[in-house]
């Protein structure tokens, strides 16, 4: 466990330098190894956490695929195919429980797309301003403010969307429901902006200065240099920002729980009430019988959410790393 990792050798070590270890040195070496081992063990906790999340959410989700008992109430087919007579319905608490998940998927997508349409252009432009136009002082104000924005608890944003934003939006657009996909999407944009901003800003900054200088030296104007050289070079990072923003949006719970109205309707209307996967789990898990079909279906939705954000984040991280490496290589 201790001293065999490559690269260890170049680190100065007192014990290694001594020709013959005295008992004090042996003691020191022993306690050093113990400390290193303990620290490494704690570091492994993060790996363990991810595994435990996978295992324990997965364990409660799996009966949806395998358990006869669950299948007596809901089959995998019934979760996606329309219910005879009533169509696509999510209504787990009733005489004849219906578990069609498509309205929830549609709700999640609808709200996420609205939030990205709002947040991505705003945040990327803001990142462009901060990295390319703003002076040092403006930057020192704007960046902490956006960090503060990221620090606003999502329940506070949800509350604001519920109480204030929904009224404004209804007055302006005359939406059929006061709480709807648009309100939730706007609220969600609030939570998505900081991450899209910071990842895009990082990637714009990662573009070597030589690109700017070269473009300007060739006679390009500032906007030409930006739009034809800098932004294209940073484009993978900006794409990654959008991908990570997507991951943040599909996983956000409190904002959509408070602001979306929570009616599981399968449609593409942005003015009507909608229900997301996260809000469904949050609203229903508290009252569900542990071990029932409903319980397992909710965990299955959670597992799906977990796997999709995992995939989205891995893709996002990979793009960022790839871009960094290629920019380093060319600068």
């Amino acid at each position: 466990m201790a001293a065999t990792a490559p690269g260890e050798l170049d680190r100065p070590r007192m014990a290694a330098a001594a020709p013959r270890a005295t008992s004090l040195q042996r003691q020191v070496r022993w306690s050093e190894r113990l400390a290193e081992g303990a620290i490494k063990a704690v570091a492994l906790l993060s790996i363990l956490s991810v595994l435990l999340i996978l295992v324990f959410v997965g364990k409660e989700a799996l009966p949806v695929l395998t358990s006869e008992e669950v299948h007596r109430e809901v089959t995998t087919r019934a979760m996606f195919a329309p219910h005879a007579g009533s169509g696509f319905i999510w209504q787990p608490v009733s005489e004849d429980p219906k578990y069609n998940v498509l309205p929830l998927f549609a709700g999640t997508l609808k709200v996420t797309i609205i939030s990205l349409l709002l947040a991505v252009p705003l945040s990327v432009l803001a990142a462009l301003y901060v990295s390319e136009f703003a002076g040092k002082r403006a930057r020192e104000v704007i960046k902490p403010v956006i960090e503060l924005l990221a620090g606003v608890p999502s329940v506070v944003v949800g509350f604001f969307a519920l109480v204030i934003l929904s009224t404004w939006i209804q007055q302006v657009f005359g939406t059929p429901h006061r709480l709807n996909a648009l309100v939730a999407g706007c609220g969600l944009a609030f939570a998505v902006c900081p991450i899209v901003f910071s990842v895009s800003e990082d990637s714009l900054r990662a573009v070597p200065n030589s690109y700017r200088v070269a473009a300007l030296a060739l006679g390009a104007t500032r906007s030409q240099a930006l739009l034809r050289v800098i932004v294209p070079a940073a484009l993978p990072g900006i794409a990654a920002a959008a991908v990570l923003g997507f991951g943040r949006a599909i996983g956000e719970t409190m904002i959509v729980l408070l602001a979306s109205g929570n009616a599981a309707l399968l449609d593409w209307s942005w003015g009507r009430s909608t229900r997301t996967i996260t809000a469904t789990i949050a609203q229903e898990l508290g009252e569900v019988v542990v071990g029932s079909a409903h319980y397992h279906v909710l965990f299955a939705l959670g597992a799906l959410l977990f796997l999709s954000t995992l995939a989205v984040n891995l893709v996002g991280e990979r793009i960022v790393r790839h871009m960094r490496a290629s920019l380093r290589g060319s600068s």
Partner: protein, 312 residues
């Protein structure tokens, strides 16, 4: 510039316009984002300022939560985040120490740890709630009850300790990222000097490197507390309660929480108009708490960065 403008004055004027348009557009986008924050903050202050008083902070809710204060929710939030810190900060600091001080750059384990930390930060908070319920409450809690309490339900229920640990896992990446940045800013020479004086590596880390990085570690801790204080989804099923007559005194007590209180008041109230002032008051307290913590963290980090720059 001059030759171009002589040949193509027209194009240049247009290009300058484009420069200015792009600058204006991006500035406007920045302003919109800042304005969003300002509107929310101002609205919460407007609605909450007249409600928040000493009584509001120090009294318990009364009459089905339509009167009184939010004292139990504040206490619950403080206990929750303190316990969370006890879990997250040592683990986060140790992880960062491993990554920067022990692991070699080619270590597969270190890379895996990094990937897991990054992914942990991206997992939706509601999934942490599911995990806390499935793992801490239903598995660890049940195990403790079976071993120590003869199967009597003591820890196999949503309570303070499980909610805290769930949040500790959620905030671990915050601590790790902050601490790692701070450790990387400690100059190599300081480590070398300590080692050259005969200190062991562990002594160097504990007595030289960590004190140098204290500012960054503090930043991480504060950010984690601020994040934990605002999270609701992970604690909904792992310990937060609607209303409790008593403050939590044991690790296995349920607790009230500011964020959860906001959710409860906003959605479950029998009389919306009468609870609205209380709702605004609670939101204001929660927002102030997280803002002050965030400002403290941003200031501490700025100071730590200046200090690090001074070293170089």
């Amino acid at each position: 510039m001059t030759p171009t403008s002589r040949v193509l004055p027209d194009l240049q004027v247009r290009s300058h316009l484009a420069d200015r348009a792009l600058r204006g557009l991006s500035l406007a986008a920045t302003a919109v984002i800042i304005l969003m924050l300002a509107i929310v903050v101002l609205d919460v202050i407007r609605g909450g300022a007249s409600v928040v008083s000493w009584e509001f902070i120090s009294a318990a809710p009364r009459k089905g939560m339509t009167e009184g204060g939010i004292f139990p929710a504040i206490v619950g939030t403080v206990f929750l985040t303190l316990l969370m810190t006890v879990g997250a900060v040592p683990a986060g600091v140790a992880t960062a120490v491993y990554l920067t001080e022990y692991a070699s750059s080619r270590s597969v384990v270190a890379r895996l740890v990094r990937v897991c930390i990054a992914n942990l930060a991206g997992i939706p908070s509601i999934v942490f709630g599911l995990f806390g319920l499935g793992f801490f409450v239903a598995t660890v809690g049940k195990g403790i009850d079976r071993l120590a309490f003869g199967g009597r339900v003591t820890y196999a229920q949503p309570c303070l300790v499980w909610a805290s640990l769930t949040l500790a896992v959620l905030t671990l990446p915050v601590v790790v990222v902050s601490t790692e940045e701070a450790l990387r800013a400690v100059p190599r020479e300081i480590r070398d000097a300590s080692l050259a004086l005969g200190a062991t590596q562990f002594q160097t880390i504990v007595r030289v490197v960590l004190p140098e990085a204290a500012g960054g570690i503090l930043t991480g801790g504060i950010l984690a507390v601020s994040r934990g204080a605002g999270e609701v989804a992970p604690i909904m099923f792992t310990g937060a309660a609607y209303f409790l007559r008593d403050l939590p005194t044991h690790l296995n007590d349920p607790f009230m929480n500011l964020g959860y209180h906001v959710y409860v008041l906003a959605t479950q109230s029998p009389d919306v108009d009468r609870t609205k002032p209380l709702l605004y008051g609670t939101v204001l307290v929660l927002l102030l708490l997280t803002f002050l913590l965030n400002l403290a963290a941003i200031t501490a980090r700025a100071r730590a960065r200046r200090r690090a720059a001074g070293h170089g």
